[in-house]
Amino acid sequence: MSPNAIAIENSQSERHPWTEVLHEWVTTVDHKRLGILYIGYALCFLLMAGSEALIIRIQLMRAHNDFVSPQVFNRMFTMHGTTMIFFVVMPVLFGFANYLVPLMIGARDMAFPRLNAFSFWLTALGGLLLYFSFLGGSGLYGAGNAPDVGWWAYAPLGAKAFSPGHSTDYWTVALLVSGFGSVGTAINIIATVFSMRCPGMHLGRMPLLVWLNLVMSGMVLLAITPLTAAQLMLLVDRYLGGHFFDTQAGGSATLWMHFFWIFGHPEVYVLVIPAFAFMSEIIPVFSRKPIFGYPVMVGATVAIGFVSMSVWAHHMFTIGMNSYANSFFAITTMAVGVPTGIKIFNWLGTMWGGRIQFKTPMLFAIGFLGQFLIAGLTGIIQACAPVDWQLSLSYFVVAHFHYVIVGGILFAIFAAFYFWYPKFTGRMLSERLGKWNFWLLFLGFHMTFDVMHIPGILGMPRRIYTYEPRPGWETLNLIVTIGAFIQAVAILVFVYNLVVSYWKGAKAGNDPWDAWTLEWSASSPPPAYNFAMIPVVASRRPLWDLKHPEDPDSRYE
């Protein structure tokens, strides 16, 4: 008891027993600690979901392989997809938003710190429930194991008759619970942005990261909730004998598809808009120029938010909608490309004429730009309904969305890690390991996902357990698998870098990148209260104003 009594003033250097440290982390309501919890939790799931991806790739390495059974294969792709979307990418992005949004708007914490903790623990519980299905999925009926219905669980596959046991219920409840967590966090971010800004921080002066996370949170409110509703209906069907998706009683399997994709497509933008947010902070700093076209960036983001709510049925061209619906969803899908294109040009405009520094965060940012562009282009290709009839449910689609999520979002997340790790820990990540991480991931990514388009065009369907040795298929699949393992090595280099740099990294100081937003004015890591005095800002780049009092931005805005 006694060592802690005097530790209050000097808590940084004092050594606590590990039980107390654990207690502090479990009961914390500090937005920075919760941010780190989100990120650490997501990294654990990244390793698990990554291992599942490797199992899938080993199975598909050659024709007629039997590395795992078909049942295990189904579980692997279901768990891989569900985990990556809900328990890796979303928590990582929420973690960064949690950590950065209050710091960037000059606040001491989120609007509702306890709701923040509650949301995190709900998300954590969701992930545990999903993985507990490996043990408890068979339940009393002795059937099933982990969920094996695919990440979208199309009706009637999710019905009790086709998914006996509890595996699908673990999937349902896990998404339901983590969905409540997401909505809680989204509400918290919105309230923080509207009600906690420091004096002078008008909406038009907020860093773009804050703006984009605000739009993302608004989308979470509208996109996650349809999934919640659909999962409630599925539970009614499975446990109360309801008929929502029971075609024999007049129910509609198509309705489930609509409900799922009303969630599913905006979800992509929920994931990619925070990635845009990282780009909008990182590219200006390493180009040594303010962001090009700030108001247009905000407008384009809001436009993406709106338009992306009306594109969902482009996932459903093959179910046979009428030609008006096909045309509508094809056109809206192509229309999303316009504001997205505007953003890409604005980032290029920011880099144009700048003194670009090729530090690791910037490498990942540039990788993001090129890869996200290609991902967008293959998306436009599939927006044409007739092309989609040919390509849908093939490996072309798998290659496309992995291009978005790995080539786009994951690269942006790595950029963010290398950029803000010094703020989180006070230490720099190793640049040398960072370059290894980037180039290995770059090589592995392109080996895997560039090549994966080709079997898709050749007609290889997704989610097949194995395939016939048709000409070229084996070679292509082998290259894809080798690429996946190179990516795995890159991820391990990254994790090694994270761990080693925490102790051995160079001291970062407050502002290692000579950046301009408020979080860099706090110490690294920031104290629990963030700012001793609440800052007052007069422009979009308060630290520029501070460093260049002779030529402040506030004169021009």
Binding site: A111, H243, G251, F531
Partner: protein, 198 residues
């Protein structure tokens, strides 16, 4: 870089930000609206698609009295929060209790209707598509009424023990927002189930 403040300009003269409670409740209402929208869409989509009876026309009776109860409770909660704003705690307590009673009456009405449907008409959630969508939509709303009533009750208990004063009027407003939302949803559910659906 030791300074933590940005000493270039003075703080703006007026720096008023919206109340975080109200912003958050608006966000929650936004999210809840999306959930209800999906259930309403499912209800509308499945009208007349049941393969077996009973049909809505045969069994549903319009709950006019209880609807009036719920909708007028929106008015009482509004005047309750207005009286608290002006510091009239006695009027607040009266109107708040009335709101609670009206909400409770509505819930009792729903319970009665369900009892009648289940035991007299034999309509359960698994009978047909109408039953599934009807009990889900009305039940989701009743769940929100129940949650609202619990929160009303908590405030009522605090109010009876004299702990609710003018200072809390901001928080009471947030709760009133939720109650208005529950009422507004009932207008939609009522229209869909008892007018369009029959």
């Amino acid at each position: 870089m030791s300074s933590l403040t940005i000493p270039i300009t003075q703080a703006p003269q007026r720096w008023v930000l919206p109340d975080r409670g109200k912003v958050a409740m608006a966000g929650l209402i936004f999210a809840e609206s999306a959930i209800f929208t999906i259930f309403v869409v499912a209800y509308l989509f499945y009208i007349g698609k049941s393969v077996t009876g009973p049909a809505p026309r045969d069994v549903l009776e319009t709950p006019l009295l209880y609807t009036i109860c719920l909708l007028s409770s929106s008015m009482t909660v509004h005047f309750a929060s207005k009286s608290l704003e002006r510091g009239r705690t006695g009027a607040f307590l009266g109107l708040w209790s009335l709101t609670f009673i009206l909400g409770g009456l509505f819930l009792f009405g729903t319970a009665q209707e369900w009892h009648r449907l289940i035991y007299e008409r034999g309509l359960t959630i698994s009978t047909n598509l109408f039953g599934t969508t009807y009990y889900s939509l009305v039940g989701l709303h009743a769940f929100h009424v129940t949650a609202g009533l619990l929160m009303l009750l908590i405030v009522l208990i605090f109010s009876l023990s004299g702990r609710v004063s003018q200072r809390e009027s901001g928080r009471i407003d947030v709760l009133a927002m939720y109650w208005h939302f529950v009422d507004a949803v009932w207008v939609v559910v009522f229209t869909v189930v008892y007018i369009v659906g029959r």
